[in-house]
């Protein structure tokens, strides 16, 4: 019997060995990083381009593009700061205006030759932007016969009690953007009172954007209980019902904070020339026209074209709230701590 048993063990081992043929380690092709015909793009989780676009770049330049996505926007910048002596790649995309100043101060990005409007400190090139705004569920407000709120102040009114949900400012980047909107609106010493008022009016804080939009929000497809949510100005086009002509939700354009995403060449890049080429490629119409489709942001280049439904249903704020990037870097931790103490308790 022991013999039969060992046969079984041998058999199992053989199966395992056969399966190992499809092992991930075994099939590893040699990594070509740090060579002159490869360019490595370091970016955040949300980076995406339609199929074939990066392949076009590879065809045009003869370079191979590798993409590394270490985490969300904050994780991305902080990893780059930590590894600046031995960078993770050649070019970065996805540093936004809330982290731009830290990236430049820490010397993570090198000066660029790209010429475009809005280049930050001569190193970070704007690629796309979007507005983070309060969204409302038109259907809910119509059904309840209640007028929709318009301004930030409206949200503290008693008729909107227990109706608002926002993502956490500490753990979510749109959450932070909304905190900055209130800093821009009420000043560095006034935003705390505003949040206290929101809290007193039944504010709900969800962990992340998807949690707020899909679980708590009534217009996100899951019939959540709250009809007011923090989302993007570009969210409404996605709520046009099948066969319908207009979205069931809308963005309040007087409540927005503008988020700009930059790209730059990393200091100490192994392939700075390739990095600069890829950076310029991100500004071409091919990429810029694809950005709304694949990343839900507005292209920064003035020559890019927007999808038709965006032009109709996703207008931008004319006068979004602003906070100086240097102020953000200087105060981020203090503001977030204070926000936590005020709102989370």
């Amino acid at each position: 019997m022991a013999r039969i048993h060992s046969l079984r063990v041998v058999g199992t081992a053989a199966v395992v060995a056969a399966l190992a043929g499809c092992s991930a380690i075994g099939s590893d092709e040699p990594s070509a990083s740090a060579s002159s015909d490869t360019v490595t793009l370091v970016t955040h989780d949300s980076f995406a381009l339609s199929e074939g676009i990066l392949a076009d770049f590879e065809e045009q330049t003869g370079l191979t593009v590798e993409v590394v996505q270490p985490g969300d926007g904050g994780t991305l910048v902080n990893q780059l700061v930590l590894t600046k002596d031995a960078p993770l790649g050649d070019v970065v995309f996805g540093i936004d205006n809330t982290f731009a100043s830290r990236a430049v101060d820490e010397g993570v990005v090198a000066p660029t030759t790209t010429e475009a409007e809005g280049v930050f400190e001569g190193a970070l090139v704007p690629i796309d932007y979007g507005d983070v705004c309060i969204n409302v569920d038109h259907t809910w407000f119509a059904a309840h016969g209640l007028a929709e709120p318009v301004t930030l102040e409206d949200l503290t009114e008693p008729e909107y009690k227990d109706l608002l949900v926002v993502p956490n400012a500490v753990t979510s980047s749109p959450g932070l953007s909304f905190l900055l909107a209130t800093v821009g609106a009420f000043g560095e010493d006034g935003w705390q009172d505003y949040w206290s008022a929101l809290k007193a009016n039944g504010l709900k804080v969800a962990d992340g954007w998807s949690d707020a939009y899909y679980t708590d929000f009534s217009g996100g497809g899951a019939d959540g209980p709250r009809p007011i949510v923090l989302s993007y100005a570009s969210s409404p086009p996605y709520t046009v019902p099948e066969g319908g002509t207009a979205p069931t939700t809308g963005a309040l354009l007087d409540t927005c904070f503008r988020q700009t995403e930059y790209a730059g060449v990393l200091t100490g890049a192994a392939n700075p020339t390739g990095a600069q080429q890829l950076l310029d490629f991100l500004r071409t119409d091919e990429v810029q026209n694809d950005i709304p489709v694949s990343m839900y942001m507005y292209p920064s280049s003035p020559t890019a074209t927007l999808p038709a439904e965006w032009a109709a249903f996703a207008p931008l704020a004319t006068d979004p709230f602003e906070v100086d990037p240097a102020d953000i870097t200087e105060n981020r931790e203090a503001w977030l701590t204070e926000w936590s103490d005020t709102v989370i308790g």
């Binding site: 019997m1 022991a2 048993h5 063990v9 199992t12 395992v16 190992a20 499809c22 092992s23 991930a24 380690i25 590893d28 990594s31 740090a34 490595t40 989780d45 949300s46 995406a48 590798e66 993409v67 996505q69 270490p70 985490g71 969300d72 904050g74 994780t75 902080n78 990893q79 700061v81 590894t83 031995a86 993770l88 790649g89 956490n168 500490v170 753990t171 709900k204 804080v205 962990d207 992340g208 954007w209 949690d211 899909y214 679980t215 708590d216 497809g221 899951a222 209980p225 989302s231 993007y232 570009s234 996605y238 099948e242 489709v293 694949s294 839900y296 931790e333 977030l336 936590s340 989370i344």
Partner: protein, 580 residues
């Protein structure tokens, strides 16, 4: 003695060369796991923590005073301990009856049910968060409980994740426990409850302590669950390390918190080790077939009252309720994955063959990546974990040796208790040209299965070890007396018994690797993202299509896990009339 051995062939007496071969074997058995853990865990963690304490080449411990003077720190430590203790207590209280029903009885659909309870263990926390919250949110099916955003919701979710840990670890030993000791106690007049308390429970204590320490570590380092269900007001040490590291880049505070986390974890491990060592002894083990009885809800005819039928009924009821509660969020997940714009349909599942316009690969390709990575991770974890379990199962004669063994045991549990953020960022600092080698491991796909193996090793050790430790030393002595060389004793006694629990360990390790998200999310390269990483990316994107795909992909992950776990259960069954 229910274990019978084939008479070993007359082996040549172990001479000097044989003895040195044995010594060499043990040296390798200790060295390989130590080098593995040192390279891929200790080094990155130490490097990351050192970054917080060494400023301009000088050691600066001022962070401690600074961090401990914040009242928030103390609240966070308290919350971590409270959540982890409550989560562990409940998991054990519910898991032990579960192990009894699922591993001590036969009934139709048992394999399916065993696989089913493992599913929550691997689901990505973002998905469970959604499934849980949409149940609890006001207006949801369980909204009337008003649990949304409460401490109770977090504890419930922790139990949801860890129930399987207890059931499997305890069940694995229980089904092999010779029932005759308990029967003897009963024959001598003990009530069923008394017999359970005085005979069975002490025998199970090592496995329960093992499972409890695993659960505690999982609960103490829970991250996504805590954030999604409770938010930062119930922040734990783990979430605070994440915030300090990834959002504030306050490495000093993160390092202090990492040390605090280590202390908490070490404390928990010490308690568990104590509980184990006072109880651990050789047990009479048997084949599962011999100890398992059919599950009967109605008292069989002719069975007298006071026969323990009530205990079985209570355990069955508890388990049925728990399974129902486990099923609620899962059913909710399936239902939501079938919901489309136009009503109901399989649209989101069809979309899994596409990139959803957002991913670098289709969801099916990511599934394949996950399987391949999990396979590698499982093999590594089995080798390393198997060796550790083998070494730790020895009882050296000298006290120093015994202490070394206990230390080794605890050491390999640590990866579960240390923040994935610390490990992930530590990899970045240490794996660029390690030892001056011209490879950048930080962005290499090789690092992913290794990182997953590090967290799967403890599971293998905890599953195999109780079985190895329960082997009666007389069995080995008997084999040796019959002339078996030490190597042959190891093969015929230890290995042949340990392989019985291997199916369980393989299933566990594979499941853990499939669901691993923490360290992987910092490492996975987009050309080969794993399933949980893809789910995470999909769920974070605006648009109902991405969201639906994420839910459908989660259902796929759940089914895949259940399937593999069920397969592994079958693998270990010795077959009809099996005798070993």
């Amino acid at each position: 003695m229910t274990v019978t051995l084939d008479r070993p062939d007359a082996a040549p007496s172990a001479g000097a060369s044989g003895r040195s071969r044995v010594v060499a074997f043990w040296v390798v058995a200790v060295a390989v796991p130590l080098v593995f853990l040192g390279l891929f865990f200790a080094w990155p963690v130490v490097e990351m923590i050192a970054k917080g304490f060494v400023v301009d080449g000088h050691l600066d411990l001022g962070g401690f005073a600074d961090v401990f003077s914040r009242p928030r720190t103390w609240r966070i430590i308290g919350l971590t301990l409270a959540q982890a203790s409550l989560g562990t207590l409940l998991s054990v209280a519910l898991g032990v009856p579960g192990a009894y029903v699922l591993y001590r009885h036969t009934f139709r659909g048992r394999t399916l049910l065993r696989a089913f309870v493992t599913v929550p263990f691997v689901l990505p926390t973002v998905v469970v968060g959604v499934a849980f919250r949409s149940l609890l949110v006001s207006g949801g099916p369980l909204g009337f409980l008003q649990l949304d955003g409460t401490f109770a919701a977090i504890v419930a979710a922790l139990v949801f994740f860890n129930y399987a840990v207890v059931v499997r670890a305890v069940g694995g030993l229980w089904e092999r426990l010779d029932p005759r000791a308990e029967q003897a106690a009963r024959a001598l007049g003990a009530s069923p409850w008394r017999a359970f308390r005085t005979v069975t429970l002490p025998a199970l204590t090592p496995a329960i302590a093992s499972a409890a320490s695993l659960t505690f570590l999982y609960c103490a380092t829970a991250f996504g669950t805590v954030l999604v269900l409770g938010g930062l007001q119930f922040g734990t040490i783990e979430t605070e390390i994440w915030v300090q590291t990834t959002q504030f880049l306050d490495l000093r505070a993160a390092a202090v918190l990492s040390v605090v986390q280590l202390v908490v974890v070490a404390g928990a491990l010490a308690v568990a080790a104590r509980a184990r060592s006072t109880r651990e002894r050789a047990l009479a083990l048997t084949l599962p077939d011999a100890s398992v009885r059919p599950l009967r809800l109605r008292r069989p005819a002719g069975m007298p009252a006071g026969d323990g039928h009530a205990l079985t009924l209570v355990a069955t009821t508890v388990t049925a309720v728990v399974v129902l509660l486990l099923a609620l969020p899962l059913v909710n997940l399936v239902v939501r994955s079938l919901r489309t714009d136009a009503g109901w349909g399989l649209d989101h599942y069809t979309a899994l063959g596409t990139t959803g316009g957002a991913l670098t690969v289709t969801v099916w390709q990511a599934t394949l990546n996950s399987l391949r990575v999990a396979l590698d991770a499982t093999v590594i974890a089995l080798v390393v974990g198997g060796l550790v379990a083998l070494v730790v199962s020895r009882r050296p004669r000298r006290a120093i040796g015994r202490r070394a063994v206990v230390g080794l045991d605890a050491l390999f549990m640590l990866p579960l208790g240390v923040s994935a953020v610390t490990v992930g960022f530590g990899f970045l600092l240490s794996m660029h040209h390690p030892f001056g080698l011209p490879v950048d491991l930080r962005t290499s796909p090789v690092l992913v299965p290794i990182a997953q193996a590090v967290v799967a090793v403890p599971l293998v050790v905890r599953t195999v070890l109780p079985v190895l430790r329960a082997i009666d030393p007389r069995l080995r002595e008997a084999a040796a007396t019959l002339g078996a060389a030490p190597g042959r004793v190891l093969r015929t006694v230890d290995l042949s018994i340990a392989t019985r629990s291997l199916g369980l360990a393989v299933g566990f390790a594979f499941a853990a690797s499939l669901g691993e998200f923490g360290a992987t999310s910092f490492l996975a390269r987009p050309d080969r993202p794993t399933l949980p990483v893809v789910i995470f990316r999909l769920i974070g994107r605006p648009g109902p299509e991405s969201y639906g795909m994420a839910l459908a992909a989660s259902v796929v992950l759940a089914l895949l896990t259940a399937g593999i776990v069920a397969l592994c259960e079958r693998l270990r069954a010795p077959g009809a009339g099996g005798e070993w």
